[in-house]
Amino acid sequence: MKLDMEKFGKFAVRFEPGQMIFAEHEPGNSFFFVQSGRVQIVKILDDIEKNIDILQPGEIFGEMAILEEEPRSASAVALDKCVLLEFTRENFEIIMAGYPQMALKLLKTFTKRIYDQKRCFLTLTLDDEPAKVADVFLMLAENLMRDSAEGVVGYPRVEFKASIEDIAHWAGMSVNKCREILNHLASQRKIEIYADKIVVTNINDMSRYVKSKRNQQK
């Protein structure tokens, strides 16, 4: 989706490759629509700059800022020469009323965020730490299956392009604790850890394991 620049031109902001759009921890009161170019979302974790996401034209980011006065939870950097449309909390309602296309886009973004947050919440309510890690894999697998029409190749063996830091982030635990659990899972041959990916040998087994832990808790 590309928005009509005649209507939206006055909201346009331009960034050069490598330029920062906003930094993590900065107060945020605007959100952005990617008109052209790609935007990289990064976070510095344990002194490493980690890629969180790469946004394509048509995507929205920084939208949490219009809901609450909260610091940015990650940094946004222009990957290419970018044209973004910047909307503030103040002009939010006017824009939404005037440009339903934009509002619809935001509505879809919200549905996805709500779902992701709920899923994340479910993971965090598990008491058992290894079960949390296992549940993160289930969540990532659900996302994979939702995004691919053809299904996941090699199922029930599933490959994840995720690092230990990613998993730790989702499971809400320290990287060290997460590494310990992953190593243990690897020693039981439930997962295989590679430099650039983690493979779950049987996602169905993992699902049964999480389910039993959840039932024990109840």
């Binding site: 490598g18 330029q19 920062m20 930094a23 993590e24 921890h25 900065e26 107060p27 510095i44 002194d47 700059e49 949490m64 219009i66 809901l67 609450e68 610091p71 940094s75 950097v77 309602e93 939404m96 009323a97 005037g98 339903p100 296309q101 509002a103 619809l104 935001l106 509505l107 879809k108 919200f110 549905t111 996805k112 965020r113 709500i114 779902y115 947050q117 709920k118 994340c120 919440f121 479910l122 965090l124 309510t125 939702r146 809400g172 635990m173 109840k218």
Partner: protein
């Protein structure tokens, strides 16, 4: 086309977990949505009013239904697909605004719940030092533009903050480095730099030596600095600092007023490393050397080249512009 469907009391429109991408509007009758609270697992019952939508979130997000929709008394329900819903909503943006409000409230609530769970496991970071640390990270890793952005923001938000003095210093340093100047402060001479560059151990020794040269130069011990930079250059021909030192050698010659050596050094650099980060600066030094030697034409030529290559608002542009004008004035006087 959206179609109207009649449901008998007690029938089910959809179950929790169903994967259907339909969106519903209650036209007449009564429908109850049954779901479970995330936190305490208690059943929640929501009654849909006539004219209200339901099943929207899961359809738009393409995930399974999150609640069971049960018909309480005989009802007529309008069923539509996602594209049909979109067409309808685009024509009537009030629908979307209303939903945005509902969804944003839900998002806010769940966001808070997740945060509460996380904060019991994790130490919260305060934004002020968090922001400052990001600046430090970028400076340490020689991402000067990003470092400058973050420090400037820090100063903007926390003018009297606990790191504001350091942030100003680092912002200035980052902008100097963006112009190709050698980094000065300890933060960038720390071992992390070498670690980040993931070079071998001996290169890290070279890094130390390079900064020793920078330090000598700053103390105006130009002869000694020159000697150190020459060593760095010959020991690490292919390395980052080996290449960097080529330009520093030129700088030393200039400081020692050895114009011919300086010109020779920079001419070599310009030919061999046309993409050297200090290239424009090199042109300025060569121009200055010719100016000192009184070779006005050549000096002017180099300054003009800078005016073409450098960004208009950069410091180096202004320097070259000023130098060129003073040359022309001198010529006119003569």
């Amino acid at each position: 086309m959206p179609r109207a469907v009649n449901y008998k009391a007690n029938s089910i429109v959809y179950f929790e977990g169903d994967k259907n991408e339909n969106i519903y509007i209650l036209q007449g009758g009564a429908v109850m949505l049954r779901s479970y609270d995330l936190e305490n697992g208690q059943e929640i019952q929501d009654y849909i009013k006539t004219g209200e939508f339901f099943g929207v979130k899961s359809a738009l997000g393409r995930f399974p239904k999150e609640e069971t929709a049960q018909v309480v008394k005989d009802s007529t329900i309008l069923v539509m697909s996602v594209p049909e819903f979109e067409a309808l909503a685009l024509k009537n943006s009030r629908i979307i605004i209303k939903m945005l409000k509902v969804f944003s409230n839900q998002l806010r609530r769940i966001h808070k719940q997740v945060r509460n769970l996380l904060s019991s496991n994790r130490q919260p970071v305060d934004s002020e030092s968090g922001l400052y640390k990001i600046g430090e990270y970028y400076l340490k890793n020689r991402k000067y533009e990003k470092a400058k952005y973050v420090f400037d923001r820090y100063i903007e938000y926390y003018p009297d903050g606990m790191f504001s003095r350091k942030a100003s210093e680092y912002s200035y340093e980052a902008s100097e480095c963006m112009k190709g100047k050698a980094p000065k402060s300890e933060i960038m001479q720390s071992k992390d730099v070498a670690d980040y560059d993931s070079m071998e151990q001996d290169v890290s020794e070279l890094t130390k030596k390079y900064f020793q040269g920078v330090s000598l130069f700053n103390q105006e011990k130009f002869e000694q600095a020159l000697k150190v930079f020459r060593e760095v250059n010959s020991e690490g021909v292919e390395s980052e600092y080996g290449v960097k030192s080529i330009s520093d050698i030129g700088k030393c010659y200039f400081a020692l007023k050895k114009w011919d050596e300086c010109i020779k050094q920079y001419t070599f650099m310009i030919q061999k490393f046309p993409k050297h980060p200090d290239l424009v600066e090199a042109l300025l030094y060569v121009g200055n050397c010719y100016k000192e030697k009184g070779v006005v034409d050549k000096a002017a030529g180099f300054y003009k080249k800078i005016l073409i290559m450098a960004k208009k608002d950069s410091q180096i542009y202004r320097k070259a512009d000023k130098a060129l004008k003073s040359l022309q004035e001198r010529q006119n006087e003569a």
